[in-house]
Symmetry: C2
Subunit: 429 residues, 2 copies
């Protein structure tokens, strides 16, 4: 079997060195002009647990955003979507413990009132404050925690990595780790195309109810690149579609998915418009940051023990490639087999075949954990001991070539474990 070549899958942009950037410190505060805080405001009962995050730019700046397409979109999504359309903002207030979803007009009023408190404390326009919530659906969100929490958060605002970390912690629900990213690198947006050092940072929360559609649960990104509003939205939308929207933990698109990018321009340099070398670089850095956070969501999926990457190649078109990859990634049978360290690739074949995309099973190849297991629809002998050893790593790779066309899709997911059932059987009560 060792002579068989693996299925060729397109390379990733996981490594920032591939476009001249390097990882740096600071999370969302890595970008000049951004401060953050995370405090306990009282949305949760545990007195020690941070449950409110505030991210603020030193002054109003460019803003781009993407939101859930769930018809039951939450109140904060309704408020933020309308405001972000202006292309500018100054702050984002986020809470965990209550999603403010399925709460009707009263929920919208609370979301707006919370931003009014932030605007008052920061001395900025109410329309420049965006809002995000995560937690239980169908319970009215109380306003009281904001009344004491926001002044405390504003007092705690800081440009330090520790402050960014506090904000990342404050939005966690069933997440087991805070999820942050920060990158820096040269971008030719100075006078005469000189290089300017630009930063991209951010944090995300997301562990269950994760099959983002337009954005993930709650994500705040920052950059000090001088992007125009139009360029910022273009870069964010492109990045989100290839990263967060390619993650699925349980196929459940949240009511609250929100991804906000604040672009302060504080790095200096000339305005960056689309279709320039500087734009391409910053957009790539934003995509790299999003991919980093997206993989962290899949790896920290509720109950997950493995990060699973599904590559579909040889599909007739991008949409069909995505459908097949998602069908595999959302299959409970595939996910439980991975949890059980069972190289049961027959379930991958079944999941690919069930989703309505037409192909000839006798033209299909499958690799599992870097081993060819199916060629032209015929099973190959498999070394079970070798497979068990390959399961010892933290990642599982699945590649399938449909043998129809040239389109490709990559989806990130995780396995399905007892802990997923525990977490979601017990979550609310």
């Amino acid at each position: 079997m060792s002579d068989l070549e693996l299925i060729a899958v397109p390379s990733s942009i996981t490594d920032p060195a591939s476009f001249g950037f390097t990882p740096c410190e600071g999370g969302v505060c890595a970008s000049a002009g951004i401060s953050a805080a995370g405090v306990h405001a009282g949305f949760r009962d545990e007195p020690e647990r941070k449950d409110m995050a505030l991210v603020a730019a030193d002054k109003p700046c460019v803003c781009a955003a993407t939101f859930t397409k769930n018809c039951f979109c939450a109140a904060p999504v309704q408020v933020s979507r309308e405001r972000a359309a202006s292309g500018h903002a100054q702050a984002v207030i986020l809470n965990s413990g209550n999603a403010n979803a399925s709460t009707g007009e009263p929920g919208v009023e609370v979301a707006k009132a919370s931003t009014a408190i932030v605007a008052h404390e920061l001395g900025c326009a109410e329309d420049d404050v965006l809002v995000g919530s995560t937690g239980v659906i169908g319970k009215q969100l109380p306003l009281d925690p904001y009344k004491t929490g926001v002044p405390a958060a504003v007092a705690a605002l800081d440009h330090s990595p520790a402050a960014a970390h506090d904000a990342a912690r404050a939005v966690m629900t069933t997440d087991t780790v805070p999820k942050e990213v920060s990158l820096e690198g040269p971008v030719p947006c100075g006078k005469d195309g000189d290089n300017v050092t630009v930063h991209v940072g951010g944090f995300v929360k997301g562990s269950g109810m994760i099959q983002p559609n337009m954005a993930t649960m709650l994500c705040v990104l920052s950059t000090d690149a001088p992007l125009t509003a139009r360029a910022a939205q273009a870069a964010l939308s492109a990045a989100v579609s290839q990263t967060f929207n390619k993650v699925t933990v349980d196929s459940d698109t949240s009511t609250n998915d929100t991804c906000i990018l604040l672009a302060t321009g504080a790095a200096g340099g000339e305005d960056i418009e689309e279709n320039t070398k500087a734009f391409d670089l910053v957009a790539t850095a934003i995509r790299c940051a999003c991919e980093n956070l997206a993989r962290k969501i899949a790896a920290d999926g509720e109950g997950a023990t493995k990060l699973v990457t599904v590559d579909v190649v040889g599909a007739p078109n991008d949409a069909d490639a995505d459908t097949v990859a998602r069908s595999i990634a959302n299959s409970p049978l595939v996910k439980t087999a991975i949890f059980g360290h069972d190289a049961n690739w027959g379930r991958i074949a079944a999941a690919a075949g069930k989703c309505g995309i037409v192909f000839d099973q006798y033209g299909v190849d499958i690799d599992f954990l870097g081993v060819p297991v199916l060629r032209a629809g015929l099973p190959l002998p498999m070394d079970e001991d070798d497979m068990l050893r390959r399961f010892e790593g933290n990642e599982v790779t699945i590649a399938i070539d449909l043998g129809v066309g040239n389109a490709h899709a990559r989806i990130w997911t995780c396995d399905l474990s007892y802990d997923y059932v525990t977490i979601n059987g017990d979550y609310r009560t």
Copy 2:
């Protein structure tokens, strides 16, 4: 809250009395002219466990069938689909323990060879023998068990309820109970429209990898009504689309789904064609039998503790109603909440909203376990103790009114428990 009316959902045909039929004994053998057997042939290692079923008509008879639409369809599906198209058959040979799927041309050869052995032993035409398999995917199916197993099964063939029961047992995999049905009632297909007593019987296996698309895992139905081949196919297709194809345990459509109806005509009477009163009655009885078995599949879903019925009303059209109902029924978050006895209806709202069907959240009503919990998008106060009591039953009902149109869909599913993970993490190894 007690003044609020529940969402009106169309009534079911679960009760055969609604069309003048009554339950009877005999399973697949309830129909005159049908015998069955279940034996241990050796597909499984456990010596006591039956793993091969044979169902035979006393002579060649009318046959109708539906099969999986999974692109990775199994070898027995390929063989049976071609043969069933003739509209006649005499026997069905079924095995558990190996699905004979993803096995290429060698798998097709074994499937054909197995039917040749059956034809030889029964003295019938090879083309009149259909075949079905269930079990692991991607392993070649051995022919040897047929060489001794088929003669033993033919020797054991009997028209008794016990023989039908043996056959139902022999196809079980992760099923915890055999699933059988039998009904009888008067049908006006005698001379001058006199009533003739007609039977419908059958068994099904199915517990995991269950989201049938055109038929369920393995189902053999019988009737002694004198249906023509065309009428038999029409009745079966209509029944399957509204019953087995509305069940989902885990959204995973099998590679092997097969549903075969043998219509012996042994009840006597004139040929039954479509668009007659007799046809409507027999078709209703077949649908009732299929619904009975479909509900048994959902109730016996892998690891299931509850049978869950999801009704969507007020949808713009049937396809959209089905999409929303399936989105709810396949949501791991909804399913784990039910397992945890958590009336977390917010997840139902989120699952309805995520699937791409457009509606206004402020026009939506939801009932959970027979209690109104959402009206016009606003949550209602909920008595948690009352909800916990309602969870003590074996069934959970979910109804959602989208408030858009008049279309309806009903999907049967089950909850998602630790045992699903145990069963599917350990299944193959």
